[in-house]
């Protein structure tokens, strides 16, 4: 079974505009009777605050549970792009408190009315279970003012903290949750979202149906659109199984491997293929601890010039669909400077690689680097990199560690020289940088890769504070070209295949918003599985 891939998608175009345009004429008749989809997952949990990171939970979390507000695209903030769902109005009182006015007609699929005290219960319960790191970092408490008004207190004034807590906390009725049996919570919950759960077969399939009695009627956010009557998600963790299911007419929509896309679906007209960049970027990060060879910038630059990203991807993953990115943060956030993409960014240059290697004082094959990697990850890309470094006279030893053991070695400053890493970008590039390099976060470790560089910290503070173009560019130039602490590699692209008749798969911040898909008349759904 492949490693458990963490599926996340970045929306590039502005969703809000298009959805308003379409929504105006959608009558209550459904565009499609049903949608069956195969997910690369084998365990899910429909209860409100479970943090199962699988593809199924990703799809369902916002559809069956309402949230105060949702983030339709990366970087959306309250007042600039975020859509209010349960909340009618959110205003910031001061750095640590926010006033939230709720809609007054919120009900769940079992008829319980949702009030401010239910919202408080939901946040407290989520905090207590502690499955969401963001919620535990930023949520402090909620003060209930009236049935439809509450004051939300955050722990820190960090930008985006409130938003992270809000988008990760499902809201459900306290009365129902405390009285429901474990079986009911897991199989037949009282859903507050636009859809409710009708059938669960643990580990195999889950079916949700649009709620006729959904409480919101006016302008509806993307997660509340009801274009499809019934959605069924089947768990198929085998690549082949999903592509076979598509061809056999067992499912309408599924993610497939590049090879299946290239050989079967690319030129088959009764399928539509969508290429969505993978949420998790890939970056090459150097260990700047004095104990490592890579503390010398020349070594870092030699390696960066020796690696040819195109070859690594073409041969390593065997497909040509990827986006090279010119910063360690993918180009999906508002504060990303698009001019970076035109820079000549460490594309392969053997002469420079050798030149920097000699500048660092190493002859042919004298420079030996230890590259650590998770055993479960596909090894081919690193084998290709090894070959390329060898051509520049640099010896790269690949050490594989079991996934669970990997982090302990990654945290040990003396155990590695360079490796591939990556992280979630939630709102802004500046925040993404600070999670990697800011000293406040890492204390005396300095940064994720043990950097102790005052200038770096100074430039970082400026960029985070203003997010102006020249501050962002100053930090980018310094850490990439002057010091080469870490370089962006590529963003894998995932392939989603939909049957003919599915016009647009309505991409959400990190996944397709299933019930907001648009269908044409010649969409013939496959039968639901019993």
């Amino acid at each position: 079974m492949k490693t458990r891939k963490f599926i996340a998608l970045l929306l590039v175009m502005i969703m809000a505009v298009s959805c308003i345009g379409i929504q105006s004429f959608a009558d209550d008749a459904f565009q499609a009777e049903s949608l069956v989809l195969a997910a690369d997952d084998d365990s899910f949990n429909v209860s409100p605050w479970s943090n199962s990171q699988g593809e199924v939970s990703n799809y369902l979390q916002n559809i069956i549970w309402t949230h105060l507000a949702i983030r339709p695209f990366t970087g959306a903030m309250i007042g600039s792009g975020m859509e209010l769902v349960a909340a009618k109005e959110i205003t910031k009182v001061d750095d640590l408190t926010w006033k939230v006015i709720l809609n007054d007609n919120i009900t769940d699929s079992k008829g319980n009315v949702i009030t401010a005290s239910d919202v408080k219960f939901s946040f407290d319960k989520n905090y207590e279970l502690g499955y969401y790191a963001y919620v535990n970092n930023y949520y402090d408490s909620i003060e209930v003012v009236s049935d439809t008004e509450l004051l939300f207190k955050t722990k820190t004034a960090d930008e985006g903290g409130f938003e992270s807590a809000v988008i990760n906390t499902a809201i459900c009725s306290q009365a129902w949750y405390e009285s429901a049996s474990e079986d009911e919570v897991l199989n037949n919950p009282a859903c507050t979202g636009a859809y409710y759960v009708t059938n669960v077969q643990n580990g195999h399939s889950v079916t949700v149906t649009a709620r006729e009695d959904y409480w919101k009627t006016g302008d509806v956010t993307t997660t509340e659109k009801q274009n499809v009557k019934t959605i069924q998600i089947l768990c198929m963790s085998e690549d082949d199984a999903r592509s076979i299911a598509l061809e056999n007419g067992e499912v309408d929509y599924a993610q497939v491997s590049y090879i299946a896309y290239d050989r079967i679906f690319r030129n088959d007209k009764n399928y539509v293929v969508y290429q969505i960049p993978k949420f998790m970027n890939a970056i090459l990060i150097f260990n700047c601890d004095p104990s490592s060879v890579c503390s010398d910038p020349n070594v870092r630059k030699a390696v960066s010039y020796a690696v040819d990203m195109d070859q690594v991807f073409l041969l390593g993953y065997g497909n040509d669909s990827y986006q090279l990115h010119h910063d360690i943060c993918p180009d999906v956030t508002p504060d990303y400077v698009s001019s970076w993409n035109e820079e000549d960014y460490y594309s392969r240059d053997l002469a420079k690689a050798v030149e920097y290697r000699e500048a660092a004082g190493y002859g042919e094959n004298e420079l030996v680097l230890n590259f650590i990697v998770r055993a479960q990850a596909p090894q081919q890309p690193y084998v290709v990199m090894q070959q390329q470094l060898a051509e520049a006279g640099i010896v790269m030893n690949i050490t594989t560690y079991d996934r669970a053991v990997f982090n302990t070695y990654y945290a040990d400053n003396t155990a590695w020289d360079f490796t591939e890493s990556g992280s979630e970008v939630t709102d802004f590039t500046a925040n993404f940088w600070s999670r990697m390099f800011s000293e406040e976060v890492y204390g005396e470790k300095g940064s994720e890769n043990n950097i102790h560089d005052a200038k770096l910290q100074e430039l970082l503070k400026a960029a985070v504070a203003t997010r102006s173009e020249e501050d962002m560019d100053a930090f980018h130039q310094y850490y990439t070209y002057d010091q080469c602490y870490a370089i962006g590699m590529y963003n894998e692209v995932n392939y989603f295949v939909a049957r003919k008749g599915i016009v647009d798969i309505a991409k959400g911040p990190d996944n397709a918003t299933l019930q907001a898909m648009t269908f044409t008349s010649d969409y013939k759904p496959v039968p639901l599985q019993k």
């Binding site: 079974m1 050989r263 041969l315 090894q379 084998v383």
Partner: protein, 298 residues
């Protein structure tokens, strides 16, 4: 009265003067069994080819060649290439050694530990026996693969861990076999006679008990090697055994799995080699069992 023609003395076949169960007897009879000979030749040729593969194969098993990645078997690459353009023939031949090493070493570990445990439990009986048996029951209650997986989870992946995992999860087979044999032999008269004339227990075990128990052990070893060869490929398939880029057959199969529909040769070829090797060991094991347990063969 019909006169009976004079009966010629038939040439004494050379095995009848050997003590049934002795190794020479088994070896001589083995050579007469067609399927066993087939099994032996396959095993030996694979071992030799594997050792010679770096020299006789046109391509090194590690060198990549982007141009004919996934290539189907051609004149150049007799068995085609894998997703990185590496020659499958040289990888498969070179990789044979891993299956043998893992199969043989893990069975050896299991045999040594298993026999010691079984002998102790069988011979001393009483408390020792029940403790060991309870211990084996616990082992027995897990399927071998789950036990090996848990072991890899605890001690990590890689060839050495894989060998240890398979070795330890096979102990109970040998232990039970040895214990059953010892119990059967122990109350045979000649062992009672030996103890009655006061010869030390150690010598009894080595001179009387083990030689007689050796025959079923040989069968279990042959079967163990084939079972472990198969299990190591399953472990690598689940990502817990041998890691890439080592050309172990199971790992090759696992990495080629997502291409099975488009480039089936990448999956079929290693699978076939696993099949042939395991089949050969099974044939050898069967033949040895039939020789040592005549009722089966007649």
């Amino acid at each position: 009265m019909v006169s009976i023609k004079i009966v010629m003395k038939t040439k004494k076949t050379d095995t009848s003067n050997l003590k049934p169960g002795s190794l020479k007897y088994v070896w001589r009879r083995l050579l007469k069994n067609k399927s066993a000979v087939f099994g032996l030749t396959v095993v030996v040729t694979l071992m030799v080819l594997s050792l010679l593969s770096p020299y006789i194969c046109r391509y090194d098993y590690k060198s990549m060649d982007a141009l004919n990645a996934y290539s189907v078997p051609t004149a150049q690459h007799l068995l085609g290439c894998d997703e990185l353009g590496r020659d499958i023939l040289s990888r498969v031949l070179y990789g044979a050694r891993y299956t043998f090493i893992i199969g043989i070493l893990s069975t050896a570990i299991a045999a040594v530990l298993g026999i010691a445990m079984g002998a102790a439990a069988g011979y001393f009986g009483g408390v020792v026996d029940s403790i060991l048996m309870r211990f084996l029951d616990i082992f027995q209650s897990f399927p071998m693969l789950i036990l090996a997986m848990a072991f890899c989870a605890v001690f990590g992946t890689g060839i050495d861990k894989c060998i240890l995992a398979l070795g330890i999860s096979n102990i109970s087979g040998f232990a039970r076999l040895m214990r059953a044999n010892i119990l059967r032999i122990r109350n045979m008269e000649y062992v009672e006679a030996a103890t009655s004339i006061g010869c030390p227990t150690g010598r009894i075990i080595t001179s009387h008990v083990i030689p007689n128990a050796i025959s079923p052990i040989i069968v279990e070893i042959a079967m163990g090697i084939s079972r472990n060869g198969l299990a190591s490929s399953s472990l690598s398939f689940l990502g817990l055994g041998v890691q890439q880029p080592t050309p172990e057959w199971g790992a090759m199969l696992s990495s080629a799995r997502s291409y099975i529909r488009y480039y089936p040769h990448m999956v079929i070829i290693p699978g076939l080699f696993i099949l042939i090797t395991v089949l050969s060991f099974n044939l050898i094991g069967d033949a040895v069992r039939d020789i040592l347990d005549p009722t089966l063969k007649e």
